[in-house]
Amino acid sequence: GAGVSQSPSNKVTEKGKDVELRCDPISGHTALYWYRQSLGQGLEFLIYFQGNSAPDKSGLPSDRFSAERTGGSVSTLTIQRTQQEDSAVYLCASSLNGGSSYNEQFFGPGTRLTVL
């Protein structure tokens, strides 16, 4: 399958620990998005990468959150000093490209993060 993959599928951590979530986008897709879905909420935009451009970090909720995209492919979302309110499903999506015209975003299955 050539879909978006994410790992781990589930992560349980203790409050205050750091976590890393990984996303492998569809090959050839230059745009990559991170969203999160907290309990009872819709998907909330976190960050967007497009090619070699500076990422759009406008959705990151605090400076404990950061993300990288190495080589224009794999992305890692890092949450430092996790808090209980960080518990959510973190979803990654990729598309052929972002920008002014819409290209379908394909989502991965998500990582369910639980902070105890």
């Binding site: 759009d56 972002g98 975003q105 299955p109 998500g110």
Partner: protein, 113 residues
């Protein structure tokens, strides 16, 4: 503040009947609207979309209607099938916003056999 609102958390419909899922938005800058479908433990999958220059888009059993003046859109599924049971998210974007999507909270559709 919730820019995309799906005010009904759930809907139950008999197989073969019509399902109507509603969505309201507040940001008049949105110019493209989408519906995503999500099964448990899977990521959302794109279902159907509509541009703000249209008021209707149809794809098989799925039709999306857009009323710009009311800032309202709806997804019609007819006839509904048990396999349509899932969570449906309404999403919107505006040109120039890096294609990031603003989602509603979703509505859980149950189609009874």
């Amino acid at each position: 503040d919730q820019q995309v609102k799906q005010n009904s958390p759930s809907l139950s419909v008999q197989e073969g009947r019509i399902s109507i899922l509603n969505c309201d938005y507040t940001n008049s800058m949105f110019d493209y609207f989408l519906w995503y479908k999500k099964y448990p433990a899977e990521g959302p999958t794109f279902l159907i979309s509509i541009s703000s220059i249209k008021d209707k888009n149809e794809d098989g059993r799925f039709t999306v209607f857009l009323n710009k003046s009311a800032k309202h859109l709806s997804l019609h599924i007819v006839p509904s099938q048990p396999g349509d049971s899932a969570v449906y998210f309404c999403a919107a974007r505006r040109t120039g916003a890096n294609s990031k999507l603003t989602f509603g909270k979703g509505i859980t559709l149950s189609v009874r056999p």
